[in-house]
Amino acid sequence: MLRTLSIENFRTFRQFSMGGLGRINLCVGTNNCGKTSILEAIDILAANGRTEALWHALARRGEQWIDSATRVIGHAEVDICHLFHGHEIAENAAFKIRATDDTHQHKLNAHIIERAVPDLFLEEEPQLEKPRRDSSKQSSLFDANGSETGLPGDLALDLIWNGSSSVSQRLPITLRGGIAKNTFRNAWVRDDVAKPTNFITTEALTRDVIIGLFEEIVLTPEESSVIEALSTIEPTIERIAPISSNSRLLASSGRGGLVVKLKNSSQRIPIGSMGDGIWRMLGIALSLVSARGGILLVDEIDTGLHYSVMAEMWRMVRDTAERLDVQVFATTHSRDCVESLAAISRSDVTNNSEVSIQRIERGSSQAISFTERDIVIAAKRAIEIR
């Protein structure tokens, strides 16, 4: 379980740290203070060699080009400058993410290097002559509007993870400062070095993701805990089942493909017709289960949830996370979401708090950390934490 996190030169943070982390951690703060960046930092660090985490961090925010000429997906690129503080990269630019758990320090050093020798990327596409940077352009290393999209430049992003094991990756950077999608796919890592990490964005999980997650747990003991989670919102839910062949149910909404059986009803009801709250709760519960032994990251966890179910949501998250040894990091803007954390906080706990709230203040290099005891006091005295 991560206890501290520190970030250098990543996204909005030049220097940033937070401590007092527990099993459940809720990040609060004003818009644009960097809450989501913290989730991304943890995601990228925990990826431990799986470079897709970087792709997702950028693509999720639309920080990418899609080649308008070719429209070829394989040529899609993400603009990696946005990962660096100040949105600028140059040779030797670097960002660092560090965390400590109870036994280890985990580090990711990412830095821009000059590629000395032709690498895999070039060997795959030998027809491309490796272009040199135009030295007359002092202001930018990259040709942002260049038509030679996807052409490899002479820089690369070096990523070195150090923790219980050591993994490194080198991703070639294109002339306009991007990294091509296929590069991420090609970066290979053993499955057993990275802990499972799930990232839920503010957007609802797609049907395919939900069904995929559900199929992992169907007919396992965890199936009932997912049903239990949903019953906090809809107490009459008895069973859920995926339906892939019934086109009528599939087509009923973008959330088709899963049906529920309610008590005292013989009808199967598409889960998509039951509202955002059920879908969100299902996404959280399934993602928790599939992150067993790892990390769950949830951006704006309260999305779609009525304030009255917030405390129950936290109980479900706490119980499942404890049982399956998952560490949870979430963000919110909602007062109810913050105050309801008191429902799972113990008034006498300050050391090794299982629950923490971290307030991120723009321009500040350290999060304000609230222990379980602080959370209880804040709720009782109406202290504004956010």
């Binding site: 004003t30 300050t350 307030r359 500040s364 304000i368 609230f370 005891r373 602080d374 006091i377 804040a378 005295r381 202290i383 504004e384 934490i385 956010r386």
Partner: protein, 223 residues
């Protein structure tokens, strides 16, 4: 979304303090602001023990957008002991906590983060409480009545009155208030109506501390 404003918070022992202090400050010439948006948000506790409980002051110090946190408590019988309890709460947040509370009241500033202030009634030096402080705000017009209020309390005690010796000042100010017109005003009403003088020089040190802590100043005569 409203504009981001900083917050000033004051922790006090109880409801009585919460009623009295705004009038005291207002009468001293510092505008308190409208009822729903006072310049300082007062948080009353149910007793000093709860206020000084581990975590209370510390968590308040982490209030979002807090500019200053103040604490006003009674010395009761031992200023040093009360100060010890307060400094234990803040010693991890501030490096420059003095051994004794300054008689002008405590104000601790940091490079970043909110300012912290403490005042121990009546004057950060003597034993006593809010009521002790208020006894000094009585006008000087009828000193014989002040003396009488003191001696009558002693006589009442000798005659078996139930109040405890620690609450002597409380009994005295309420006796004195019973002899005003109208008789028996509550303390905050007494300040509001001018029976007790918020602008008294005896309140100046306290008002100065309060204004300095929260960055307030006396109302300027306008137009």
């Amino acid at each position: 979304m409203s504009v981001t404003t900083t917050t000033r918070v004051l922790l006090v022992e109880g409801e009585e303090d919460k009623r009295v202090l705004p009038w005291l400050i207002e009468k001293a010439g510092v505008p308190w602001g409208p009822k729903d948006a006072p310049v300082v948000k007062i948080v009353p506790y149910d007793g000093v023990e709860n206020l000084l409980c581990a975590g209370e002051i510390e968590t308040h110090l982490k209030t979002s957008r807090l500019s200053a946190l103040g604490v006003i408590v009674d010395a009761d019988e031992d200023v040093a002991a009360r100060w010890h309890s307060i400094s234990a709460r803040i010693s991890t947040h501030f490096t420059n906590v003095p051994k004794q509370i300054p008689t002008s009241g405590l104000i601790l500033r940091r490079q970043t983060g909110p300012t912290f202030g403490a005042w121990i009634m009546p004057d950060n030096y003597n034993r006593g409480m809010l009521e002790t402080f208020l006894l000094f705000l009585r006008p000087n017009e009828n000193l014989a009545l002040h003396a009488l209020s003191a001696s009558v309390i002693d006589q009442a005690k000798q005659a078996g009155a139930a109040f405890s010796q620690q609450h002597r000042d409380k009994a005295q100010i309420h006796s004195w208030l019973a002899w005003q017109d109208p008789p028996g005003a509550q303390m905050h009403n007494a300040i509001m109506q001018g029976m007790l003088n918020g602008a008294s020089p005896n309140a100046a040190a306290f008002v100065n501390w309060f204004c300095s802590l929260y960055g307030l100043s006396k109302a300027e005569k306008q137009g």
